[in-house]
Symmetry: none
Subunit: 415 residues, 2 copies
C-alpha cells in the first residue's frame, strides 16, 4: 500500500507557512508501515487541484489531502475530490463519508472510489502501464489545514479506519517503531554511546533525532506481526537502557511535563515555579497537561527585580550584589517560591534569553536552574544554551523540568 | 513565467526532516515575481525523480530541484536531470552548467533545455494541449539539500542568473503581497464583510486565512514594478480598513504580542498578568518578544483557588459563592494583580480549558478575560471557545492580548 499526501494552499506555495502537516502525516504513515513515494503541494485552484489529486490516485492507493476544507470561497478540496471520484460530495456533516472535526467546524472526508489510471500517465511515471491500467480501489481522505484540527481528526477518525482497513486487507507484515526519549544529554553524546547500534543494526534499525532540549532514538522493526516485531525490539531497547538509562524520561509520545506531573501525582506532592528568563513557558508547559491542577499550585513570572523581592522574598542585597542571573538568586527564588506557596517542590529559572542583555561575564544563553524539595535541599545547575531567544527559552524550560525529574527520582542532582 | 520546486529526499517523505528549503525558495520566487503553482516531493529513486522532473518541465518554465547532489550513493539528482534534458551532465565542477558551492563541496547545476510536453499529460493537467505541446525552453536548477549550502548557492549563483534572465526575456515584473492581520473576529465573519473583494478582485487578489485566535487577508498584486503594485494595493487595503479597521492589529509578519508591547512602550506604561486557565501562556507570549522586560513587570499563574486569594487578594467569599470561573473573579484577579504589582495595566484570565472540568452551566471553553487600567476602569469579556485544551488556551491568550489592545487604543471594551 502506497500513500500520497497532497497539501493544498496558495500560502504554502508562497512560502508563507511551513507544511508541518505533511511532516506529521508522513510520520504517522511510516509508523503504520504505509509507504509514501510522492508528496504534492498545489494552490487554491480547482483545475490544478483536480489534476494533482488525479495524478495521486493513479500512482497511489491512499490519497490524503490537507487544507481547503473551510467555509470560505477558496476552500475547494471537496469539489476537486468530487471531480476525481466522479460523484457529488455534499457538505452535510451527516453524510456517510464525512469525518467529524473534534476541534473545529469543517468536517473531513473519507471516500473510497474505483479509479482507472490513464496508461499515458503511467508511462510517464515509469509505472508498468499494462498491469496497472486496470481499475483500482483508492481511498481519498480530506483533512482540514489548521494543525490542531488535522491532528484531532487524524487521531479520532482516520487512524481507526486505516487500522481496520489494514487488518481487513491483510497488508503483509507490520512495521513497529518505538521512540525512546532523552533529556539532559546532547544528540552527539547520546549517539556516541550507541554508535555501534546506529551503524550496524538492520532489524530493528536505530536512528537518532534531535529536538529542543531533548533528543530521541527511534527503533524500527519489520516483522510478520506485532508480537514478532516486539521480540526484535526488546533486546535492543534493553541495551540502550543499560547504556543511557538515566537520561531516558519516556517512550513513544511521552512528554517531559507529563512524566514529571505523573511523578508528583504519585507522591501526592505539589509544585510551584518561579520564572525569570523562561517568562511563563515553564508554567505553560506544565499546565498544558490535562489535570495538572492536581499538582501545580501556582507560578510566579518574576520578570523585574522588584517582583523577585516582593513575590519571592529574594533579598535586595543579593540582587544588588550579584544581579539577577547568579546561582544564589536562583536558589533564593526557588526557596522563596516554595515558602510563598507552602508546597513541597519549587523550581526556578533565571538567565539571559537574549538577543540583547549579554555581557562577557554573563553571555546570552547563561541560565541558572534551582530546585528545592521537601527534604529542604536546594540544588542548582548552571547552563549555557545556544540558539535564538525562543530556543534558549525552550531549552531552559526542558532543563528545568529535567532538574525536577532527577530530584523526584533521586538521581544525582547536578551534572 | 512559472516555477516549480522539486524537493528530493526519502527523509522528507518519511517526515524525518521539515522542508524549510522549499519555504525559503518559495519566498525568494515570490519576491522575484515568479509564480509557483506546484511543488513536488520525491524520494531518492531515479525513476520516480525522472518522472517528477519531467512533469515539472511540462507544466513550468523553471524547475528547481533541491537535494540529492552529494557524494553518497543515493544522490541521484544529476542523473535524473540528465535523463530529462536528454544529455550527459558530468560531475566536473568546471562544466559550464556547474554552480559553485560557496559553503560545501557538491556543485549545483543550471541547465537550459528544449522540452516537448506530452499532450496526454497536459490534458490530464487541464492545460491547453494544442498551444503548449510545442517545444518550450525550460531552465533546470539543481541545488544541494543542506540549507546553508542551498542559501549560499541561491544567493551567489542562481539569483544573479535569474535576474539577468528575467531582464532579457522582458518578464521583469513583480508580485507584491500584503498580509493584513485580524483578531477578535472569526474567519467567516471577516470574509462575510469583504466577500465581494474576495470573489471579484483580480489584481490584487484577496484571500482569507485562519489561525488560532486570529485570521488574515492576503492581497497579492502583479505589476511592472513595486511602485505600480503598491498603487494597485492601496485602494483595496483602504477599503478593507474601512470595513474591518477595529479588528486589524497589524500587517505583514506582525505579532499581536509585539503590537501590544509597542503600545505599552510608547506610553511608558507597565503590565502585570494574572492567569488561571491560560496557565502561563499569556506571560510566555508577552516575554517571547525581545525587550519585553521594558514593559512586562511580572505575572501570576494562580492555578489554585488559594493562590488567587494569597497572590491576588481575591476574596474567599467570592470564590466560595461563584467558583473560580465567573466574571467577578476575573475582575478581582485583574484588580488584585494591578495592586500587587503597582503598575498601570493588568489582564486576567479564568476559565475551563478542558478536557475535563466542564459542567452544563460552565462548559469547557468558557473563559472570562478582564482588563484594568490606569483610569481605574475594569472591563470584562465572556468567551466560549471551541477546540482541545491547547486550542482553547491559545485562543484565550489571543483574546486576552486583544482585550488589552482595545483598551490601549480606546476602542470599545466589550464586543
Amino acid at each position: 500500500m502506497e500513500a500520497e499526501i497532497v497539501s493544498i494552499g496558495t500560502e504554502l506555495l508562497l512560502g508563507e507557512i511551513t507544511d508541518t502537516n505533511a511532516v506529521y502525516l508522513a510520520n504517522q504513515l511510516a509508523e503504520l508501515g504505509i509507504g509514501c513515494r510522492y508528496r504534492q503541494t498545489v494552490g487554491d485552484n480547482l483545475g490544478r487541484m483536480v489534476a494533482s489529486l488525479r495524478l495521486a490516485a493513479y500512482r497511489s492507493d491512499l490519497v490524503i489531502a490537507t487544507g481547503g476544507l473551510g467555509p470560505t470561497a477558496d476552500d475547494l478540496t471537496r469539489a476537486a475530490m468530487a471531480a476525481v471520484v466522479g460523484r457529488e460530495l455534499t457538505t452535510d456533516p451527516a453524510a456517510p463519508y464525512a469525518l467529524a472535526n473534534p476541534v473545529g467546524t469543517a468536517p473531513g472526508l473519507w471516500v473510497e472510489a474505483a479509479i482507472r489510471p490513464d496508461p499515458a500517465i503511467l508511462g510517464l511515471l515509469g509505472l508498468p502501464s499494462a498491469a496497472s491500467a486496470a481499475e483500482k480501489r483508492v481511498i481519498f481522505v480530506a483533512l482540514p489545514g489548521p494543525p490542531a484540527e488535522l491532528k484531532g481528526m487524524w487521531t479520532q477518525e482516520v487512524l481507526p479506519r486505516l487500522q481496520k482497513w489494514l487488518e481487513a486487507t491483510g497488508a503483509a507484515g507490520v512495521i513497529v517503531s518505538r521512540t525512546i526519549r532523552f533529556v539532559g544529554i546532547g544528540e552527539a553524546a547520546m549517539e556516541a554511546r550507541v554508535r555501534d547500534l546506529v551503524e550496524e543494526s538492520q532489524n530493528p534499525t536505530v536512528a537518532p533525532y534531535a529536538g529542543d532540549g531533548e533528543c530521541r532514538l527511534r527503533l524500527t522493526a519489520r516483522a510478520a506481526d506485532k508480537a514478532a516485531a516486539e521480540v526484535l525490539l526488546a533486546p535492543v531497547e534493553a541495551e540502550i537502557r543499560k547504556r543511557l538509562g538515566e537520561w531516558i524520561y519516556g517512550t513513544g509520545d511521552a512528554r517531559l511535563e507529563s512524566v514529571v506531573g505523573q511523578l508528583l501525582l504519585e507522591r501526592g506532592e505539589h509544585l510551584v515555579v518561579a520564572e525569570s528568563c523562561t517568562g511563563g513557558m515553564l508554567a505553560q508547559y506544565i499546565t498544558s497537561v490535562p489535570g495538572s491542577s492536581r499538582y501545580f499550585e501556582r507560578g510566579f513570572v518574576t520578570y523585574s527585580n522588584r517582583s523577585k523581592q516582593e513575590s519571592l522574598g529574594v533579598p535586595e542585597t543579593l540582587l544588588a550584589a550579584y544581579g539577577a542571573v547568579r546561582e544564589p538568586v536562583a536558589r533564593a527564588m526557588a526557596e522563596g517560591a516554595r515558602r510563598a506557596a507552602g508546597v513541597e517542590w519549587a523550581v526556578s529559572t533565571t538567565g539571559i534569553a537574549g538577543p540583547g542583555g549579554g555581557t562577557g561575564e554573563k553571555p546570552v544563553g547563561l541560565v541558572y536552574i534551582a530546585v528545592t524539595g521537601p527534604d529542604g535541599l536546594t540544588t542548582c545547575n548552571r547552563h549555557l544554551f545556544r540558539g535564538d531567544r525562543g530556543t534558549i527559552q525552550r531549552r531552559a524550560t526542558a532543563a528545568a523540568l529535567d532538574a525536577l525529574r532527577r530530584r523526584l527520582l533521586g538521581l544525582e542532582a547536578t551534572r
